[in-house]
């Protein structure tokens, strides 16, 4: 899997040749530093470990400091391993830029952490329809989940029953998004559609 780590900048729109308005996301992708090269002989599988974003030295553990020192780079915010990275041949300490991995027209997957919504009810969390009546004796039950199971048999609630709880903040992958444009001088990439997470959130763009 080839890919890079990036930061979501925000959304905008562009017009295609048919004059249609297309919503797209701007992502700052890379440059990523190769912090480790894993090989089939040594590690059992081949992969590139990439680092992205600057981290403060005081927030980096001694173990990680040593790891970054080996690659000859400063502390990084995020490390991600990409298995079977085969687009470019890179050794430890080298930098990979956007234009080396992605091209306009590519189909990519975006992985990010969705916005946290806090404790939410079943209507928002699981898409329950709620009670569609405001009257007919409903009092205050418009967004209630309804029955969660039968009675004396089985005398318990089944595991995995969808209920209210913490919503959002999940790792989500959105697949098959088209790359609409690339700005190599600012490490920016324009991706059709929305990708998970808030502005400034770290995302993985892979293809």
């Amino acid at each position: 899997m080839n890919g890079l780590i990036g930061k979501k900048i925000g959304m905008t729109n562009i017009f295609d040749q048919n004059g249609r308005n297309i919503a797209c996301t701007i992502v700052e992708v890379g440059p990523c530093v190769v912090t480790q090269v894993k090989t089939r002989e040594e590690d059992g599988y081949s992969a590139l470990q990439l680092g992205f974003g600057e981290a403060k030295l005081k927030n980096t553990s001694k173990a990680q400091q040593g790891h970054f020192e080996k690659a000859g780079t400063g502390p990084k915010q995020k490390l991600v391993e990409f298995r079977d990275f085969n687009i470019v041949e890179k050794s430890i300490g080298e930098v990979i830029k956007v234009e080396e991995v992605f091209a306009v027209g590519d189909m990519v997957d975006a992985i990010g952490t969705t916005k946290g919504k806090g404790f939410q009810g079943v209507v928002k969390r699981h898409g329950f329809s709620g009670v569609n009546d405001a009257t007919h004796g409903q009092h205050n039950r418009q967004r209630a989940p309804g029955s969660i199971g039968a009675s004396s048999f089985p005398s318990r609630v089944f595991k995995g029953m969808r209920m209210a709880g913490r919503t959002g903040g999940d790792r989500v992958k959105v697949r098959k998004l088209r790359v609409l444009n690339i700005f190599p001088e600012r490490n920016l990439i324009l991706i059709k559609g929305a990708i998970p997470g808030h502005k400034g959130g770290l995302v993985i763009i892979q293809k």
């Binding site: 905008t12 729109n13 562009i14 017009f15 308005n21 701007i26 700005f183 920016l188």
Partner: protein, 118 residues
Amino acid sequence: MDALHYVHEQLSKKADFPAFRSGDNVVVSYKIKEGDKERIQDFRGDVIQIKGEGSTKTFTVRKISNGVGVERIFPFTSPSIAEVKLLKRGKVRRSRLYYLRALVGKKARIQERKYVKK
């Protein structure tokens, strides 16, 4: 310059429209594709809001068509807009003229701004 503005600057062509603002009466000439033929349709009305910035900037034009209020939102960067003509400058005291939606007939008129500051 932050990344968002940078992308806007790279992508959006500079619209060479006359400088209009809320309350002005304009004609928007809009390209319409019918099959493989293209023709131009005019939409004349009052600008009731301008919002957004960069490539997401839009303006809303409101007109009364056959007694029914019609509003149309145009992006400034849309390639389908052939031309915008400024017909009348309006004298209004706010930038979003939503109050016009509740008014009909003579009350829904906008006074013309005849003396324009240079």
